[in-house]
């Protein structure tokens, strides 16, 4: 069921489905969690062997894949947990302080 929630922040109490029920599956895509991140994973493409271990371990499905190859990281949803960097067997992912990157 598609649910029009454009102006949900203005909804009065009578309009919400009782019990906090969410009737629109998959709408967590609209909630971008990238802003939670303190450290950003940055890939070194030259070191990467395309083993896809980072893709397997990423808890937020934020490793972007195309034609069975890593093509980047989805910073809209990556929370910066660092699991990819810790698991990468070739140290091809580095965690960099977001504040450094914003300088």
């Amino acid at each position: 069921m598609s649910w029009d929630i454009k102006d949900i922040q203005q909804w009065g109490w009578k309009k919400h489905p009782p019990g906090g029920l969410i009737k629109d599956p998959g709408n967590s895509r609209k909630f971008k969690t990238g802003s939670w991140r303190t450290f950003r994973p940055v890939r070194n493409e030259e070191k990467c062997s395309q083993c896809l271990i980072c893709f397997v371990y990423c808890p937020d499905s934020a490793i972007l894949i195309k034609d069975e190859k890593v093509i980047g990281i989805d910073y809209d949803f990556c929370k910066g947990c660092g699991i990819c960097a810790a698991e990468c067997p070739l140290d091809a992912i580095q965690m960099i302080d977001e504040s450094e990157l914003q300088k």
């Binding site: 109490w13 009782p18 019990g19 906090g20 969410i22």
Partner: protein
Amino acid sequence: MATSNKVINNQTNQGILNGDNIVINSKALAIVGTDAVSEAMRQINPDVVAAYPITPQTAIVETFSQMVADGLVKTHLVAVESEHSAMSATIGASAAGSRVMTCTSSQGLAYMWELLHIASGLRLPIVMPNVNRALSAPINIHCDHGDSMGARDASWIQLFSENAQEAYDNTLQAVRIAENPDVLLPVMVLLDGFIISHSIDRVEIIDDEAASNFVGEFHSPYSLLDPKNPVTVGAFDSLYGYFFEFKRQQEEAMSNAVNVIKDVGQEYGKISGRSYGLFESVGMEDAEFAFVAMGSAAGTIRELVEEMRSRGIPVGMIKLRVFRPFPAKELAEALSGLKAVAVFDRSNTFAGNMGGPVFIELRSSLYDLQQRPLMINYIYGLGGRDLPIELINKAAGELGEAARSGRVKQIVNYLGLRE
């Protein structure tokens, strides 16, 4: 097993209600209060029951488990390891779209506490008989209302019973009240531990078919197990979310419950001969002073009220059946114009001599009346302390004196306490 109990005179009632021409089929059994509740559960035939035994509720689960084993119901019985798990399993099964029940007492209810709010917050129509028992410490297995009063702000409907018959009747009605689309709140059916739960009483069990038709089928507004209409239940709601709006909805549902409880109580009267409202009035038409009480004490008070009225004393009683929603408007109407009211509380708020919960809420309900009655509170029966008729008589004397003199000597009193 409940059904093996003696049937009084093999008696079957077939009454015809005036006007409606509806035949009431019922049989009278001599059973204890817990078996009366189990009988109601057998007739409700819930999809899932998850429960953990605790005195004095144990016999309900025991008898019902036997019914499951004997194939009398098609219920899936989940034998959980605690009350916390009982309410958790109940919540999950209810969100999956099933008709679900559990039951508990005292520490068990306390252990469920955080889940009680989740059940009501998710608007799940769970029905739970709670056999009222004191909360520790000191450890005490006997009756008072301190356990369910601890959950009075949990957004659960609370129906109190005077005897085993009412425990049975309330349990059947609770299903209809909880599942009403304008309500969708969990319901607690309260019965006094031991006094009702373990005393043999005459209970009229209505015909299985009539009971089954009365409760009807549950049509859940959604199901976690419906892949065609997937939903998220229990999502996170943060600072900029809608928590406040959902809480306002719960208040509305509770207000809606007032009329639903009355309608269901009337409809139940048509199949049983026993109609129910928010409270029962005894002699209130011409009473000058009155008692207000809940649970089994109302039976003892009724005895005294009838005796006093036969001597021409203008006394009345209101037996409060519905504590949540609190029928403030209706009670104010019923008590308006009285000289004095004595409120009986089987628990205390420990608020610093403010009185018991029924007293505090009733006094607040009467505040806007032009002519407020004087009010006296009697806290009684904690930890199962008996309430003999002599003690109520003592309270009646003080109440009559307050009505005559126009002043209350002591607002909060402890009836049956050793001074």
